[in-house]
Assembly symmetry: C2
Homo-oligomer: 224 residues x 2
DNA sequence: CTTCTTTATATTGTCGACAAAGTTTAGCTT
DNA sequence: AAGCTAAACTTTGTCGACAATATAAAGAAG
């Protein structure tokens, strides 16, 4: 779940993470106005803490704020999804390429073991288990494997929460879960072979598929 | 200068921009500890607005903060430059491709006129004029031309200030200014021809050259 | 009755003070 | 004298109150 294993120290940290999860997982609906006083009573902290949390949420594009007016949770739209995945495809493709170059041998082995474990659970649970958590974990490790601090930050702190928001709020269970596993397998194989170019291509394609999958869901749920 | 033409409303906005410029342009040296009380007296605002400004500076990677300890201006390093330009190459290459696809004809014309104006000033001032401001303006328009909100935000609000910091603090005047103009010319031509693939390739190459140029400067200034 | 103005209300922006955590200095023990 | 402990100090984190701005409501003019 908390795939970043964030080190929480201050009250603002906690509040930020709580608020973020409540937004990503839809307990605070998209488009909702965020009242500072209301939130400060709900989360039992001062307005200063809420304001800091909101500022961080702005940084990862989960809320937007107008001066002297207030902050709103972003709204999800087909165009927003398209643009988000365009950027994601480019950046994660790059991450896969860099991972093929920079991951240590043991990191690659651990990644393979992760997939093995997922495979076991998958057959055990009737091949519908493999989804959100495992997928996020997989991508997270490759991003970290790039060893590029800016790339890691932009993806993990910047875009991924919004990606999760789209996926969670559109209900991520579907026929794609099994095929995604195979794609992961091929990506890891490319990384293990240190084939940078192939790793990037496969990752880009994997994300493109993922986007198409979500977009069809988005059309079915016509409520956007 | 203020290539984003940011709409300043609150006191925190102003303070953020001031602080950002002071950091980017080296008046606050890289690595400096940022004391909240000291800054609040220097900029004549309360600690609350300083804290908000620092939070925004964290979001664009110009300062780092440890809880209960404080914030420091980032330090510049060859590795940091390398990683920054890796990401920049990928994202701006994508921006050029999208710009070739999405810019309106009039936007493309305006871009060409911009280059013409730069060319005039360049010959007039003895071909050493073309630098920082013009370059930033050029790149800024292409980024905007991508019409991808996430891409725009990550680049303009996220990475560009740090790019500027590297360039400013290493002294950006040099033999490259003239050749860079030709590269810009070719990029615009590719965009005008709606050649997405070429636009991306040329932009990536342009940024790669730019990185190499800065890296050599960084080696000469051995003070890093 | 509609529209504009003005007043009232609610929300955000800013501030100074208190609490908590970290850092330095002084004193004690070995 | 060196190293550890504890107290004093400095800095950050949090809070409640006040000021400024925007929204909503009430009243006046047409």
């Amino acid at each position: 779940m908390d795939f970043t294993s964030e080190t929480v120290i201050t009250s603002a940290d906690k509040t930020y993470i709580q608020l973020r999860n409540d937004i990503v997982e839809g307990r605070i609906a998209a488009g909702t106005k965020l009242s500072e006083v209301e939130l400060s009573t709900n989360y039992s902290v001062s307005r200063a803490v809420i304001r800091e949390a909101i500022n961080r949420l702005m940084a990862c594009h989960l809320v937007e704020r107008k001066a002297n007016v207030g902050a709103r949770v972003v709204t999800l739209s087909p165009e927003g999804l398209e643009q988000l995945y365009q950027v994601r495809e480019s950046l994660e493709g790059m991450a896969a390429r860099l991972a093929a170059k920079n991951m240590t041998d043991t990191e690659v082995q651990n990644l393979q073991q992760l997939l093995d474990a997922h495979f076991d659970k998958q057959v055990q649970a009737g091949e519908s288990y493999y989804q959100e958590a495992g997928d996020v974990d997989f991508h997270y490790r490759i991003i970290q494997g790039s060893k590029n601090q800016h790339l890691i930050s932009v993806l993990v702190n910047g875009l991924y929460h919004l990606v999760r928001m789209y996926r969670v709020q559109l209900g991520m269970a579907g026929p794609r879960v099994t095929t995604a596993f195979d794609e992961h397998l091929h990506i890891v194989k490319a990384i293990a072979n240190r084939d940078e170019e192939l790793a990037e291509i496969l990752m880009r394609r994997h994300i493109l598929y993922s986007k198409n999958n979500i977009q069809t869901k988005l059309l079915n749920h016509s409520n956007l």
